[in-house]
């Protein structure tokens, strides 16, 4: 039986983790390679780097980070942020990423999903969807951190992404993100009910129970968290211990 995955996410800018991290021996502005290795030690099932570098020159820096991480971390690595072209996919995979996540570029050009899946295989194409609830109750796709509403139904978009060859959906609720009140169970259920590919829940976890809740109340395959792990409020190990108590299939180290 497949284990439910716990996926720490690191925001990386110009080769540095931009959130304050307080792992022992790591400075406040952390080295992503060291942070990833620490998460690996804690039992992370996968690690996500989100490149928030604004400049083009920064991309080379990110690829170097990926390369160095691949030499030290032996769990799957997903890299996203600023992926726009097939060449971006190729460069990132060649540097050592196992999966590439694409967000707004796929919204603007859905064929990018199909092209990438045809060339590199569905297994490495993660479609990240940021969404929020509208007044009429449906979910709409947003980009630029929620600032731009694309007027696209998020559930329909997830279904289409799967059809185009996405291997996984990384679903972030902009309504729950940063609130720490728990994952957006309704949104996750809405998306999980229309796709067979794994859905990674993102946005909103603030405590242990939120992880068990998301796996008990939705069909999500994985749960992603950033600041919770960055700020050492919880370790991956603690989360998995709790999951085990709830009989959720989980990989322990």
């Amino acid at each position: 039986m497949l284990a439910k995955r716990i996926v720490p996410c690191l925001d990386v800018r110009d080769g540095k983790v931009v959130k304050g991290v307080n792992f022992v021996g790591i400075k406040e502005v952390g080295d992503p390679v060291e942070c990833a290795a620490e998460y690996d030690r804690q039992g992370a099932d996968e690690i996500v780097f989100l490149d928030i570098t604004a400049s083009n020159e920064g991309r080379g820096t990110m690829l170097d980070v990926v390369r160095r991480t691949a030499q030290k971390v032996f769990v799957p690595l997903t890299v996203g942020g600023g992926i726009r072209t097939i060449d971006d996919f190729r460069d990132t995979l060649r540097a050592g990423a196992d999966k590439v996540s694409v967000n707004s570029a796929a919204v603007k050009n859905p064929q990018l999903i199909k092209e990438a899946a045809d060339i590199f295989g569905s297994q490495c194409v993660v479609v990240a969807i940021d969404a929020k609830k509208c007044d009429d109750g449906h979910y709409t796709v947003v980009i630029n951190g929620g600032r731009i509403d694309m007027g696209i139904d998020a559930v329909e978009w997830a279904r289409k992404a799967e059809e185009l060859g996405a291997g996984e959906i990384l679903l972030t609720s902009m309504d729950t993100d940063g609130v720490k009140g728990g994952f957006d169970l309704d949104m996750l259920n809405a998306v999980c009910s229309v796709v067979k590919i794994p859905v990674i829940a993102s946005g909103g976890c603030g405590k242990l129970e939120h992880f068990t809740e998301v796996f008990e109340k939705t069909n999500s395959s994985a749960a992603l968290a950033a600041s919770l792990f960055h700020y050492k409020e919880l370790t991956v190990g603690q989360v998995k211990e709790e999951m085990q108590k709830h009989n959720i299939p989980v990989r322990t180290v």
């Binding site: 284990a3 995955r5 099932d45 030290k72 032996f74 769990v75 295989g121 180290v253």
Partner: protein
């Protein structure tokens, strides 16, 4: 020295990275002589069966691989494991290396997504030296849409994904194949690679 067969398949660096990390002497090579001189051989691979066999044919390494797999430890990983069998059925029928009898067929699951992707736990079937020191039930990382169909006697371990999926094969002598990626399976996978590097 472990020779990692470099025949143009993607993602071979992750295997090299893992061996380097473990301090195991290794070399990426497409030279028949080096496969002969190596202590053991790893055949990695990501991609489609027919394409990989074509690449192997072009490299001229098929005869030496078949010969060396009879005399020294040989490990196929993921697609490299699938190539071990007689035939593959990805985009039509293609002959494989025939090191272990069996074929490689599409995973068909009505209610589950294919590729089978993620961490799945090993269920042991037969004693297999590469699993020494690894308790049954450990999770390893899979990414694949095709799986091996072979004699139960060749299966070291399988996993459950809406039914049995062949996870690890062993010919009882030198030939091993893992459908999962030991180089992406955390400590468990690294331990397996280390054990492989010490097999006699």
């Amino acid at each position: 020295m472990i020779a990692i067969v470099d025949y143009g398949a993607g993602n071979i660096f992750s295997v090299k990275n893992a061996l380097d990390y473990l301090g195991i002497d290794n070399k990426l090579t497409s030279d028949a002589k080096e496969l002969e001189n190596a202590d053991r051989i790893i055949l990695p691979g990501v991609g489609a069966f027919p394409w990989a066999m074509k690449k192997l044919e072009e490299s001229g390494l098929i005869p030496v691989i078949k010969e060396q797999a009879k005399v020294k430890p040989f490990l196929g990983i993921c697609l490299g494991m699938q190539l071990i069998f007689d035939k593959g059925y990805e985009f039509g029928e293609t002959d494989g290396l025939g090191l272990i009898h069996g074929s490689v067929e599409k995973i068909e699951r009505e209610n589950l997504s294919v590729p089978h992707m993620g961490w799945n736990s090993l269920i042991y079937n037969k004693k297999c030296p590469i699993l020494n020191g690894i308790p049954e039930g450990e999770y390893v990382y899979f990414v694949h849409s095709f799986a091996a169909k072979c004699d139960d006697d060749s299966i070291g371990a399988y996993c459950d994904y809406g039914g049995k999926v062949t996870a690890l094969v062993y010919d009882g002598k030198y030939v091993y194949g893992t459908q999962f990626h030991p180089e992406k399976s955390g400590k468990t996978g690294l331990k397996m690679l280390k054990t492989f590097s010490e097999l006699v």
